[in-house]
Symmetry: C3
Subunit: 139 residues, 3 copies
Amino acid sequence: MRQAQREITLKTTGTGLYEFSRDAHALVASAEIEMGQLTAYCRHTSASLVIQENADPDVQRDLVAFFRRLVPDGDPLFVHTMEGPDDMPAHVKSALTQTSIVIPVTHGKLALGTWQGLYLFEHRHAAHARKIVLHVIGA
Amino acid sequence: MRQAQREITLKTTGTGLYEFSRDAHALVASAEIEMGQLTAYCRHTSASLVIQENADPDVQRDLVAFFRRLVPDGDPLFVHTMEGPDDMPAHVKSALTQTSIVIPVTHGKLALGTWQGLYLFEHRHAAHARKIVLHVIGA
Amino acid sequence: MRQAQREITLKTTGTGLYEFSRDAHALVASAEIEMGQLTAYCRHTSASLVIQENADPDVQRDLVAFFRRLVPDGDPLFVHTMEGPDDMPAHVKSALTQTSIVIPVTHGKLALGTWQGLYLFEHRHAAHARKIVLHVIGA
């Protein structure tokens, strides 16, 4: 049984999805794991992770639009506003999506479906440097 | 340390929850793992995974009803409509639930609570064949 | 490769977030794992898990307020009402958040971000004893 780990940094430029499937594939390949599992973990509470369709870019646009309408900026419900009108909505959107995702490794490859990509979901408007830890274990 | 993996296919016949706890239990038993963890992974972006109550079927009915109201078919907000009025809502519902779930294995059994079942959540109306990868690691 | 497991019980006193990062840190330390991953698993369907900000308590208050508005008690949409007006909303809130969270272990420590805490999200109003299984694997 072997394992490997890497922290990557994604530079975001506003709300949206940022794919990092390639980094996950690369770690699995370099660790030479045939069967096992990869964990992706987001070290933030105002950005999160999602698996989404990687074919039509409109899917990403629509996903962002839905979450913006569901959790609007500047909602008077929120008390935690000192970091800006998009901060508490970012925490809520993170809770509604995922902080960690685990993907099996089969025959040396991530078991992502044909149309699946692995994305960071940035919820803040300003640019950020987001840290994701990738961990793979198997044999 | 040992591991085992299996891909199962669930044939869905419309929106709803489809239990596959039995398949997960079977993999743990056949791998003869006493302590460890099982990962369930859904290889689609218009279906997802949830742990839910396995006692009263009304819970499943109500869960489906809530998500249908929260993310309605044919919402004019959506641009990605070429695959039908229930396609983009299916992507959103997948993002709101889970693509992967990890369950510890304790004394040779999944640590599911008394009322917990492991379900595929089908978000499309048409029949589909959904692939789920089960992976167990432990000793 | 080593692993360790522990079930903890959190006594809740109503809707809200209950931190158990300390229990997770303790298991990693006692198992003496330098690199690996920890899984937290909630054995209930009316309580769930979230990673959230551990700095300003208003974040937790706002998170609870958002979910209460999104999934109101006593919603006439729900048929499953025999366990009280806050029971079916609790199942929905669990589906919208997470039942399992996996956190990598790096240099002997959980890779939690600076502002991240690991929380049980209690969705019921009455007091409950909630069981969480912690499992760590690595070397």
